[in-house]
């Protein structure tokens, strides 16, 4: 090889080496630094002025979430896609992730996305679920994190408390920003013609997760009859773990839930009431909503649930007992349960959850007495044994059954 050729070669290798480093630098600039600057600007302009960060406990929970690899089954990133939005809510905005050191976006979904998990499930549900996932969600493949507990879901160690408090923060900042926050972000985005960017701002889509409970909401009118076989299959897959195979609230999931799941066999339900509960869940309890199921499936489930109840011979009560029950009810119960037993008393707004609606669900006398005597743990319903006599308890237990509007 001639000397000139060698010199040329040496130069070309030098040029190539510099070029190689430049390739790499370019990738960092184009896919790291430049997007980073855009995202930083977006964060600055679209974020509320003082988004809520994490408390110390929530930060510790985040570390546990990271160390256990939660992000490797549960993403924290709702994509700008209708399929994602239908399940998990509004797409994740940059500012929502501003405190995530490091990010926990994930690239695999074995379980559902958790970007908007906060407020979707109750604390007791999370504890029971972390302790023994399959007690609540049969066929789940999530590992049990019993090591975060002291032997039972009722006795969470600090780690479990931290983790659950962290889970409850997911999506919180955006939710707290409220409609004003959304409007601010939308204005800052200034992207009226960018169809994809606009997807993030559908007000109704923010927390559209079909499992998320709603304290107030509408529900579809269910057909009166459903497919019993389909209903039984759905019940076995989704309900029996808590409500029990015969609806007697004795499933494995009852451990650790406060309040305990409803005793379905001990109540007579209207189809409308079941439709409402299935569609909206029971806010403040572990009963999640099932808006991902079509109305026919819900009707099938309602039919299964109604079938658990065994009709009782209604005794004819003497007028004085009825009067006593009415009196006790008006004085002690109506503020919460409402004058007509619809769970709409004057105190409802102050309560952590909606009181029982006797028009849509008629408890058996035994159920009713049990609630009166013991209260309902985990709800504002207190025990009444000290305050009411046995005769009064009995009378009101019968009385509330009279509100039911579904009797044949």
């Amino acid at each position: 090889m001639s000397r000139d050729a060698r010199r040329f070669l040496r130069m070309s290798y030098l040029v190539a080496s510099v070029g190689g480093v430049l390739f790499f630098a370019m990738s960092v600039a184009l896919l790291g630094i430049w997007p980073g600057r855009v995202l930083e600007d977006e964060t600055r302009s679209m974020s509320p002025a003082h988004p809520l960060g994490l408390t110390v406990s929530e930060q510790r929970g985040r570390i546990i979430y990271g160390r256990e690899g939660c992000a490797y089954c549960h993403t924290q990133q709702v994509r700008y896609l209708h399929a994602d939005m239908a399940r998990f809510g509004a797409p994740t905005l940059a500012w929502e992730t501003r405190f995530d050191y490091p990010h926990l976006w994930g690239t695999r979904r074995i379980g559902p996305d958790l970007a908007r998990e906060g407020g979707t499930h109750s604390e007791d549900w999370h504890f029971a679920h972390l302790f023994a996932p399959r007690n609540l969600v049969p066929d789940s493949v999530m590992p049990a994190y019993a090591t975060l507990f002291d032997g039972s879901p009722d006795r969470p160690r600090q780690g479990a408390r931290d983790l659950v408090s962290y889970l409850d923060t997911l999506g919180r900042a955006r939710e707290l920003a409220g409609p004003e926050g959304e409007a601010h972000a939308r204005a800052a985005c200034n992207c009226p013609n960018d169809e994809m960017a606009q997807m993030a701002f559908h007000a109704a889509a923010l927390n559209v997760n079909p499992a998320r409970t709603r304290r107030q909401g509408t529900s579809p009118k269910l057909p009166a009859a459903g497919d019993l076989v389909r209903g039984q299959q759905l019940y076995a897959h989704n309900c029996a773990s808590c409500h029990g195979v015969r609806g007697e609230a004795d499933g494995p999931g009852t451990a650790g839930l406060h309040p305990r799941p409803a005793n379905l066999a001990g109540h007579e339900y209207t189809v409308d009431r079941l439709g409402y509960v299935l569609w909206n869940g029971v806010a403040g309890t572990a009963m999640q909503a099932w808006r991902d199921l079509p109305a026919e499936d819900l009707a099938s489930l309602a039919q299964v649930v109604r079938g658990f109840h065994v009709a009782q011979q209604e005794p004819t009560l003497p007028a004085n007992i009825v009067d006593l029950g009415a009196h006790v009810y008006t004085v002690n119960c109506a503020q919460c349960h409402g004058e007509h037993g619809a769970g709409d008393g004057s105190a409802v707004a102050e309560l952590s959850m909606t009181p029982a609606d006797f028009r849509g669900a008629r408890p058996s006398v035994a159920e009713s007495l049990r609630a009166l005597r013991n209260g309902v743990e985990g709800t504002p319903m207190a025990p009444w044994t000290g305050r009411l006599s046995e005769a009064e308890l009995s009378a009101v237990a019968y009385y509330v059954r009279g509100f039911f509007q579904g009797a044949q």
Partner: protein, 478 residues
Amino acid sequence: MNESANPVAAPAVETRLVYAHGLAAILTLLISVTFGILASLELLVPDLAGNSAWLSWGRLRYDHTQGIMLGWLGNAFFAFLYHAVPLLTGRPVTSVRLGQWLFGLWNFAVVVPGWVLVLAGFSQPLEWAEFPLVIDAFVVLALVLAIIQFLPPFFWRGLEDLYVSSWYIIGALVFTLLAYPMGNFVPELVPGARGAAFSGLWIHDAVGLFVTPLALAIIYFVIPAATRRPIFSHFLSMLGFWLLFFLYPLNGTHHYVFSVIPMNAQIGAITASALLGVDVIIVVANLLLSLRGSGVFPRDVALRFVSMSTIFYLVVSIQGSVQAQMAVNQAIHFSDWVIGHSHLAMLGFATFAAGGGLAHVWQRIPWARYNATALEWSYWLLFAGVILMVTDLTIVGLVEARLWQSAAPWLESVRAARPYWLVRTGSAIPIAAGFIALLAGLTTGPRGAGLQSVEETIGLKPVLEIAPRLAATVSEAS
């Protein structure tokens, strides 16, 4: 190896370092595979780990991939480099002592403590970067030592007539060192979506700048050495090399399509992903043309491993180009399809290259045991296992994607996946057996049987033949 006909004295290969890294590679491989099998079993029997936090799914998952990348592939690549660098440059590596330090550091300051720390609950939740920060520091140190160990021989020699494997080796070592902090350090300092952009870079660079170039260096090295024919086209080699180093790093953001990361970056990455498929076609065409006449299943088992690796490389890359496209990505992203894809890359392409590379260098260690029958078994078991696993995961990915698009409750997708997950765990049987056979192939059998098998299959020739023009250059220089 020291044939008197050879005008050049064979450069000293530190066979003990080759052997040490090779053995460490297979042992860490078996451990990493155990992590993977346990993790896959826990998807079928979620309470398998009982109350043991150490064996919970997330931690096993971390250790599985980190062990494969750093333990198995890292060690296998080092073993190959100790063999290839002296042969490519005609000069020994920098220092045997340094090699001992590198070996100790890599295995006893990175892989083993990394595993233990992850199991004990010290890790970082970043893909391909799960070992905790303290371990990352040792990885960076080890990468610096590797550069000091392996690159000077290339430069002492002068860069004329550098064979393509040399380019890949230099590129891989330099750019891995540059890319490693992107995924391991930056997301700890830069939050959320911004950090994810850097994570995306590293997720792809780990495969594109570390695994792929070194696997290709092996393939480009073994093919001419084992076929005793020069590579088809040095021009295509270099074209493929430069396109690879241009395009691979630009792919990163395709891990976050439809995210809040600026759409222009996403589209750029998706375009680069498509172009990367074109580059791989160039590379693979060159390799397959170099292999012509050897058949799909060459007699030399090392060559057979790398030739199948080449085919896996083509398939996985075309698949990658397709799945980065928005229409496909929106459906299959987050599903088992991608797990299938990554196994086709790491278990198909990279592992077959590394396994072929190990078999090749083992054949040329005169005192090493070598069991050709076991290697035959290894090849066929792994081949069957990979095909079964990847096919299965690809199908279940489509099943999951379909259910996610529907209104079915989330758990339906988990229920639907379980029979496929059972098959996936089943595929671990041939795969694990194949790896045990690989271990047997390199630790049992008569000493020196490797050289004998080379003689039987392709005939014994000095190894300098791999870069045909190299011998001339070296002799000219000496």
